[in-house]
Symmetry: C2
């Protein structure tokens, strides 16, 4: 097993907010399956653990500041479950993780689709459990607003339990397929869930055999107390965003302690923070790659990104700091962004560049050695088990990963040269869950 787990986060084919304006980027590829397929196949050739798709069920619908919405690349994408199913057919080892919201789905559908993806891929499916946070999504699902956060998480917990229960519908060897007697399955190895809870009443069973991994991988993203408790009980992998190693260490220790409390084994859940990277032969070359993209940020797109966190800044000069009289939107990340801008004396442009370089996730700039030093520090000091890599621009950044970062990781014995197993669980060193009957 690799000492460092690596995922490749592929949404929008790039985590730099201006990726699509780069001369090497083909914006049409956002709607073209072959583009995603080629990247997934390259990632598999490099033996990455998994590809990963964040997801949301709405486009940013407010055009604030006016005119910015049509400058946002996040208007065109493919739906992740269909996309990963298609990729499953043309890959054989890499893990396939798609996000699905517990707020706007039904557990029977989610259990069934991920079970099916697990069958289709021969045991490589993963479900990233999210609760959805935007109000726009509610408007696409006949609701006037999102559920309150506590209720969302209560629903999420029950949702995950129902899905797991449905995955246990049939034991691994339930299907006897006895042509002579006519018995298709052994009735003792079929379990009817008959769940009756606060949010859901789901009888079951599923209409499919037990998934090859037993349960498809469960990934969790959501950092609050309730989010961590779901992760500690049920997640195989936790996807986080941490901006400093200290913050990450605290999160890591807290989550592993919670997991131990629930009797988890195998170092589960594995914790994989997001990491965007700008790498070159020299630090200066790496910085030049970042600078080139930063110059391409459309001020309208930059202001639109900031709008979510700190409100409308379009009336101000973007090459000056945020005026004293401006307050944040009330979102905690907004207040801390404004504080940081003021502490570091950043202009509005510098602030949106700061978060635009990785769509709000942490990014590193440097040579392979510098970046791998950073990764190694995180893993060896108990801040991470690996990283969900957020490439600034695809397929470009994946080539950089292959040329620079992976060889250095391998030189240090931190990353595999060949897959160890066939399933995603095997490659991550996670055991399969025991069947419910056991």
């Amino acid at each position: 097993m690799s000492r460092i787990k690596l995922g490749l986060s592929m949404r929008y084919l790039g985590y730099h907010i201006a990726a699509w304006r780069h001369p090497d980027f083909d914006p049409g590829s956002l709607s073209r399956f072959e583009a995603y397929r080629d990247i997934a196949q390259k990632a598999e050739a490099e033996k990455l653990d998994m590809i990963f798709f964040a997801d949301g069920l709405a486009v940013r619908s407010e055009d604030k500041p006016a005119g910015s919405l049509s400058h946002d690349m996040r208007n065109a994408e493919l739906e992740p479950i269909t996309l990963l199913s298609a990729i499953a057919a043309v890959t054989s080892r890499i893990g396939l993780v798609a996000t699905a919201s517990t707020t706007y789905n039904e557990p029977y559908h989610v259990a069934r689709k991920y079970a099916s993806l697990d069958h289709i891929s021969g045991g490589r499916a993963g479900w990233n459990v999210v609760t959805s946070w935007s109000e726009q999504e509610a408007l696409n699902f006949s609701r006037i607003s999102n559920l309150p956060k506590d209720e969302r998480y209560d629903r999420a917990l029950e949702f995950v339990e129902v899905v797991r229960g449905l995955w246990d519908s049939f034991e691994e060897d339930a299907f006897t397929h006895d042509k002579t007697s006519g018995q298709f399955y052994d009735p003792d190895k079929r379990h009817v869930l008959d769940h009756k809870g606060k949010f859901f009443q789901v009888r079951g069973p599923l209409t499919s055999a037990r998934p090859p991994q037993g349960h498809p991988l469960i990934v969790q993203a959501g950092a609050s107390d309730q989010g961590r408790n779901i992760a500690a009980q049920y997640a195989d992998v936790v996807y986080t965003v941490s901006h400093s190693v200290e913050e990450a260490r605290e999160f890591y220790a807290d989550l592993k302690a919670r997991a131990a409390h629930f009797g988890r084994r195998d170092n589960a859940p594995l914790i994989m923070p997001a990491l965007a990277f700008y790498v070159g032969e020299t630090t200066a070359q790496a910085q030049a790659k970042l600078d080139e993209l930063q110059r391409l940020i459309d001020p309208l797109a930059g202001l639109a990104l900031l709008y979510t966190y700190v409100g409308d800044l379009s009336a101000y000069d973007i090459d000056k700091p945020i005026p004293e009289e401006h307050f944040a939107n009330g979102i905690s990340i907004g207040s801390s962004l404004i504080k940081r801008a003021r502490d570091e004396g950043l202009t509005i442009r510098q602030l949106y560049e700061l978060i635009g370089a990785g769509y709000t996730v942490r990014y590193v700039v440097g040579t392979a050695e510098e970046i791998v030093d950073d990764m190694q520090l995180w893993v060896e000091s108990g801040a991470a088990d690996g990283f969900n890599l957020c490439p600034p621009i695809l397929p470009h950044s994946l080539d950089d990963l292959s040329a620079f970062i992976l060889p250095e990781l391998r030189r240090r014995g931190l990353f595999r040269t060949e897959y160890e197993g066939r399933t995603l669980r095997e490659n991550l060193g996670l055991t399969s869950p025991l069947p419910s009957g056991a």
Copy 2:
């Protein structure tokens, strides 16, 4: 364009109820993607218009007669949207039609997934609209019973309209991708649906570019007055079950008249009845193929199939007629089955063989000439535009199709030797819908 349209209905890899017990059938293939893939690729090599998956959201949950449930092959399958997405990646011309229920889904999800499948497949996606009829499905979706039929259909009509509206979110050339100005799309070519109806409030837009077909194909299955009206307005293809050419002609004339009333063009919707087939060099050889499968019907499975329509017959001798004192379940198809059995003097075994040979759809037995005569009669006398072929056992029956029926159809100039277009609509001779703005 082919004069006869042909789909291949693939659910459970066979429409003979005992398919899985045939020596040539591999029951493990029901859960194995590669089996479906190979069949789809063969169907594409034969230039069939489309593959088709019926679907349901529950297994038959009642074990009546006792012990029968574990003898039913319909306990293991793959989910159709994931499956067709995977097949999309390894085929290039054949249409891909999956069923999704309007009763247990949300329009935003359905619009998005089929749009994505249409992108992934380069314009080959189709949605078979059904309203679901079984009570077991309700129990998997936190409901104690299905909606009343009128309400189901009112919901279905609104559902289809919302999905179509969401597919019109962006016009075909909306994405300008202007790297210089930073404009990603032309705001005049984006349409916010803002639907506010009885069942749904859906703002939109979708998070993806206009599907390659404009709208993925809409297939409709459901024969009541309400079902026909949805089909007449919005369906591109209607899937039906008719047992006689007269009945089919009546249905055909009625549906085309309703469609004309709604101003439809292009002979839309195309009407494709289900057809199972047993074919051989001679009629006797064809009959022997059917007989072999009929002998494999497990009496428990036969009685379970009849149970749905005529109630529990397990107390009677299956080699005798249904006793006089037995009445049907109250379902109209049940009463007509009992009447037929009595009129024709059928035993219980003969009755379940009759419907088990094609899971209740019409089947024909004969040489290629006999069968193609039948197909030609249907198409030329205004009973059908083509057929949704229901192969008794896969891949076996597909080989029979290639060896016998297709050559005979081609000899008569009734079926293509090469695809005419790239999209499913092009191959069926259906125009794309006009964008909402036009």
